[in-house]
Amino acid sequence: MNGRKARWLWLLVIPFIATLVPPIYARSTPAIFGFPFFYWYQIAWIVLSALIVGIVYVARRSSEHE
């Protein structure tokens, strides 16, 4: 694996930091559609985490010239 490809993998660390540190999100405000922050923030991270995986997948594939 070359350096340029490997660098993209560091993006995968972001979801770990964002979701494994409860002090960031264990509160009720701001609420959206009645959902306390604690809930919509974590649900949003399911989607963001999937997007990050998608970005890493595409970036690595294009640097492989498949």
Binding site: M1, L9, L12, P15, F16, T19, L20, V21, P22, P23, A26, R27, S28, A31, F33, G34, F35, P36, F38, Y39, Q42, I43, W45, I46, V47, S49, A50, L51, I52, V53, G54, V56, Y57, R61
Partner: protein
Amino acid sequence: MNSASIIFVVLVLGVAVLGFIAARWGGANLRSLDEWALGGRKFGTIVSWFLIGGDLYTAYTFIAVPALAFGAGALAFFAVPYTAIAYPLAFLIMARFWIVAKRRGYITTADFVHDRFGSRLLELAVALTGVLATMPYIALQLIGIQVVVERSGIAPNHSSAIALLLIAFALLAAYTFTSGLRAPALIAFVKDTLIYMTVIVAIILIPHALGGWAHIFSSAQSALAAKPKPGAVILPRNLYFAYSSLAFTSALALFIYPHSITSVLSARSAGVIRRNCALLPLYSVLLALIALLGYCALAAGITVKNPNYAIPDLFVRFFPSWFSGVAFAAIAIGALVPAAIMGIGAANLFASNILQSFKVRQTRPPIETPIARTLALFALAGGLAIALFIAPQYAIDFQLLGGTWIVQIFPAVILGLYRRWFHHRALLIGWACGMASGTWMAASANFASVFPLHIGGGMLVGYIAFYALVVNILMSVLFTILFDALRVSRGVDLTTASDYS
């Protein structure tokens, strides 16, 4: 029979028929173990999406996670960060595992460990752990089926519910024996469609009837605060570490369960795995919504003796009868899919690692398929025995213990995928210490999943599996240094660098 029971029976019998038809899918020669156990390793992105999703999100997801939200509040939501990090992790490790498994014809984690570390004992330890962790998991699926059979009104009493469970079990065992992995792969399409339908309808209908989400959260908060062991909707400070360690360790464990490995290895390419790591999280959104149904049950004032009945009762209250039938069938079929794959995964470990571990290994002999088929029946029957003869509450305890056990193979399997730094005997000692300390902590915490660790004057409540894994890794490191210093001989690595890329 009411309309719920009729729809339930028709759907469940329908998928059983599908299970038998699956044997003809792709005109396979099911005498080959690769074909029976892994569907010939040729499922593309879409089939794999349905299969892996249908495999990972089990009766535990549909029954136990909302039950935990219903009973304990915010802690249950750990399942959300858990699945948010499981896929980035799997993107890294499972594609690599798929590649080495394909190159060298592995069907289990223990196959890999045997070749990587040249140790039969370590192979055996990994295989036994997998089987041990899977049986109670199969039992939970069957208990999930029993819960919906009882609640759907199809069984007037407990003994007829058991009789129906036995019929469902016989069908499950028969089509798994006949069709192998193709059966759950085909049924997964039905499962996933029904589950998505149920959750979408539930999430539109129920909150509307209950006066909106803001009201649901505030009534759930009051209901949780009034419990004998008060809970809260927002995670309290003293549970931060329990929450993170539950999410983190569960994510490490998710993909090394035998049933996850089985469905991952059935993919056509490593790219199928990588793509699915970006596509499968759609299920996790579903999981989050299902967890919130636990709060809906609180807001609706549902009272049950066993929190596992909270969601079925919520459905009965808010759905028209015929749609309760669809919802219950979704949960029952949702349990049948992973149960079949678990049976196959455990059978693979039995056939290729436990029975074979003291024989000379050659290229996989075709004789293993009949053995694996029969062993799948035994694995499923083991799960049935746990479901029938051990009280459901204890079966769930076993499942939690299973999570603590399975993660003990992480150092050998996943760290071993990248480095061969550990000495195989040190890994064995680390594994034994992790298993023993995890089991001890679970027993002394009365089979709660979290354990209060006293450090200095303070107390840190964390997931038992996490603490046991730390013990495991520390011992593996210490003994590796010791054995290398003493020049204890290492096993031979049969894999080469080119097997991994």
